[in-house]
């Protein structure tokens, strides 16, 4: 296994048509096999960074390497080794989970047999077997989140990006999702997770980075950061480092 899942070096990015550079000389390393949490207030740059690491946005300077492959140079290969679970429900609500997984499985390059086996496996793990043929439009928020996750892990990625994967779901669904993610991590999948749910983050992540205004303001394991700053929980640490003013 490679020692680093992600290496970001001197990253520069600016949104077209907007004033100011969003990221400048931004550096970050995420070790392979880590459960890495990316936190920060609204507008800090979490989603932008996630979009840059997944190739959705193009950066203007520096480099981002995913398992030693520059993402702008090998987009097709890089796209085959990571999975992405976006915050939005990125599937076709008119179709059933099985139909969605069949479509996305083909796009991941899986064979028909692989798609069939993996679909049944994921539906079973995420408790969706009995509703696998129902149109997603009839699903609850929690069920939709689980399908959103299933699509992202269909091809058993080596690196999995998760942008608020449990927002708006019930306790049962959250429990199922977090358990599944931990099991995935045990098989060697690196998790890169972004959320506002600090308790969940504390439960899932073994390393975190706090970013604000396009800069990393803290980066270490949660235990080290809590003891360094004298806090018992993440909320106190978060407020100390990012302040109490609104960031709307």
């Amino acid at each position: 296994m490679n020692s680093h899942a992600i290496v970001i070096k001197d990253l520069e990015f600016q949104y077209p048509g907007r004033e100011g550079v969003f990221f400048k000389n931004f550096n970050l390393q995420i070790s392979a096999g880590e459960r890495f949490g990316l936190f920060g207030p609204n507008g800090a740059g979490k989603t932008t960074l996630m979009n840059l690491m997944t190739g959705i946005l193009k950066y203007s300077g520096g480099s981002i390497k995913l398992l030693e492959h520059e993402i702008n140079h090998h987009p097709k290969y890089v796209n085959s080794i990571f999975g992405f679970v976006p915050q939005d429900f990125s599937f076709y609500p008119e179709l059933s989970p099985r139909e969605n997984l069949a479509f996305y499985g083909a796009w991941y390059g899986l064979t028909r047999r692989q798609i069939k086996n993996r679909t049944e496996e994921l539906l079973e793990i995420l408790g969706l077997t009995s509703v696998g043929n129902r149109d997603l439009i009839t699903f609850s928020g929690g069920m939709k989140r689980r399908v959103n996750l299933a699509i992202g892990v269909m091809h058993e990625p080596k690196v999995l990006f998760l942008d608020e994967p449990t927002v708006g779901v019930d306790v049962q669904s959250r429990h199922a999702i977090i358990n599944y993610l931990k099991k995935q991590n045990e098989t060697g999948t690196t998790l890169i997770y972004s959320s506002h749910q600090l308790e969940e983050a504390a439960e899932l992540c073994n390393k975190i980075a706090l970013i604000d205004d396009g800069k990393i303001i803290a980066h270490d394991s949660l235990d080290v950061l809590l003891s360094e700053h004298g806090h018992e929980g993440m909320e106190g640490l978060f407020l100390e480092l990012t302040g109490k003013s609104f960031r709307d």
Partner: protein, 426 residues
Amino acid sequence: MHILWATIIKDMKILLRDRVGLFMMFFMPILFVVVITSVQNSTFELVNNNKISLVIYNNDNDSLSLKLINEISKIGLFKLQISDSAVTENKISSHILSKDALVALVIPKGFTKLIKNKAEEIATRSLSDPDSLNEKSTPLKEKADSLKMYYNPVMQASFRHSVDGALNSAVQVLQGEAIVKKLYEAVNQKEIPQDLEKQILFGQFPISEIPLSSSGNRTVPNASQHNVPAWTIFAMFFIVISLGGVMVREKNSGSFIRLKTLPASYMNALFSKQFVYLLVTFLQATVVFLIGNKLFPYIGLPALNLPADIWGLLTVTIVCGYCAVSYAICVGVFANTPEQSNGFGAISILILAALGGLLVPSFAMPANLQKFLSISPLHWALEAYYGLFLVGGKLRDIWMNILSLLGITALIQLFTLYGLKKKNLI
């Protein structure tokens, strides 16, 4: 290939599950073509088959006014009503405005005498001094009592001119006959034989109306031949309402973005949309043409005669559908909301239809607008269909139209790719 096939299956399923969308895509164009063809057919029949109702108020009741009525009835353009009663403007007005008649003709008292006097005068002058004909003739004394034609203002100018021309020709026949008779009598001192009179007056060189066609078929085109192809093109381009909306929904739902993170080309998604919706436009056209061909006669409309060159028809339909689908995708890529896509899509198709000669024939358009004909893909599609349906041409006769349509399609696709890049979608 597996990716493209899986995408086509996905798009097909989404399309088939949208029952309202399917209804809009198939039933509405059929309804549209039937309604428009029915409306246009009634106009077509008014010009070609139906007769214009004409009421004649005969205040003369003498030989030549009766003969005039006879001549008018022979023209075949009018459904005549004769009224001998005294006439007032009010009575004519009520007749016309209640639409009992579209046109009224008032023959003045002394009409026969007036015509005979005029013929006598011309014959006398012709025989005494031919040069005197060049002199300005004295106008009819009874100008106030000349023939008067009243018409309903709803009659379009072209109709009015047809009626006016027909009535004038009947009067001229009458006048000519009277002059010829007088001249013959003066020269030969006896009445003109009837066969000679007929030869002089009606022996004019005949004009035969023959519709031109490449196939040599001389069938007169009907309203269905004109309207069904035109409005089928319009219906195909209206796919922008559903496909444009689908594109916007996919963009806004994040499906597009997710596809961007997958190890396959986004072109699969574009090709799939093009294939599925091209199939839709092809089926739309097939259903509409079959209804025109098989069902129209049962609902009182003239049957649509399909062109002899079926391969030509298939080619034009596929190329036109491909252009319509490309346009819809382009609108969907640039629109940010379904409202933008639907609003711009619908209005732009109406404008392109107007520029393309679907709403008003291109030859009747103002000269400055005719310059823009070539930018409308609907114009090239219409020309290609007319080349097959009306002129009876073959594929080789309409290849320029097809090439132009393909050229516009290529430009639309380039613009779409630019939009996809600009919006960071590929």
